[in-house]
């Protein structure tokens, strides 16, 4: 690696650090918010574990009620959006404000901040869309926050195989499932709305520069955190 590339690959902070905390205040604020969000989600996940551990009957098998392949695809979407977010971040560090630009000698065009932010927004919006479809399907089949709706398809299945469908604890399962995934979906929606706002007010007018890209770093932290929470939720709710 030549000296020039090594320098270009170096990351540097976008704004002078505040004394004491060692980071600029917007970022410290986001980290403190994320710490409170860690407590929020660990409380939700913790109560799910406690409810499931202490449930009076057998808990439903995850793939009996939920559509795991669809959610696995959704997980993939969110991971992709996390990577595109970090690519957007790397792009503005290098001063690439453009959408796409041809690179001599390379077949693929080089993506800039505008391109990677748009990819992130589209993947995030697609995640919410798939989750809405999943919810509609679950509720139509009879899985609601209060348990299996009487007379529905899932209620009949639960009567036929009470162990596999966790017939006795359907209400606990429904309420904890919709609370956890619902709050996560709400976080993703907030992220998409914030990114859309930044896209039109800051990214498209090219207000970010390699000297100051605080907004991109801070929304990026939030976005990766939402991805991180989903990784844990997906395992605990859909696979265990």
């Amino acid at each position: 690696m030549t000296h020039a590339t090594a320098t270009a690959n170096l990351m540097h902070p976008p704004a002078p650090a505040e004394p004491g905390s060692g980071v600029y205040s917007n970022k410290l604020g986001m980290w403190i918010f994320l710490a409170s969000d860690v407590m929020f989600f660990t409380a939700l996940i913790g109560s799910y574990i406690i409810l499931r551990f202490g449930a009076p009957g057998e808990w439903a098998r995850p793939n009996a009620v939920l559509n795991v392949p669809l959610t696995a695809f959704n997980t993939f979407l969110l991971i992709c959006s996390s990577v595109s977010m970090v690519k957007a971040y790397a792009a503005i560090v290098d001063g690439k404000k453009y959408f796409l630009r041809a690179v001599p000698g390379k077949m693929l065009r080089d993506g800039g901040l505008k391109f990677w932010m748009l990819v992130t927004i589209i993947c995030g919006a697609a995640f919410v869309g798939v989750q809405v479809i999943e919810y509609i399907k679950l509720v139509t089949e009879g899985f609601t926050p209060t348990g299996y709706r009487e007379g529905s398809l899932l209620a009949e299945h639960a009567l036929g195989d009470p162990v596999k469908f966790g017939a006795t604890v359907g209400g606990l399962y429904g309420s904890s499932f919709f609370t956890m995934t619902g709050f996560h979906g709400f976080h993703v929606t907030c992220g998409v709305v914030s990114m859309l706002y930044l896209y039109f007010t800051k990214v498209l007018p090219e207000k970010y520069s390699p000297q100051d890209y605080r907004g991109i770093e801070v929304i990026g932290l939030y976005w990766h955190f939402v991805d991180l929470v989903w990784i844990i939720l997906f395992t605990i709710v859909y696979l265990v």
Partner: protein
């Protein structure tokens, strides 16, 4: 954040993708005991979460005092869950 060489983000994406595939395969295809599955799934999930936190959120390159903000709530939550579960057992 201190100056550092940029990690290979596409490689991390590949890791995350492969670990997700491994998780789904482990949960539904492998004929091993339930407790073993639970343990392996938790390890894989924490591994993925750490990859995101360390490389995408750049925690690996941050100062300790910033990492501490993120880590402090986690043991508290574990204590809470363990305490309530123990109460249930008693």
């Amino acid at each position: 954040m201190t100056d550092h060489v940029r990690p290979n983000y596409v490689l991390i994406w590949l890791y995350l993708f492969l670990l997700t595939v491994a998780e789904v395969a482990l949960a539904f295809e492998l004929p091993i005991s339930r407790n073993m599955k639970l343990l392996l799934l938790l390890v894989l999930a924490i591994w993925k979460a750490l990859l995101v936190a360390m490389y995408f959120m750049h925690l690996k390159f941050e100062r300790w005092r910033l990492r501490a903000i993120f880590m402090v709530p986690i043991p508290l939550a574990i204590i809470l869950v363990l305490a309530v579960i123990t109460e249930k057992i008693w």
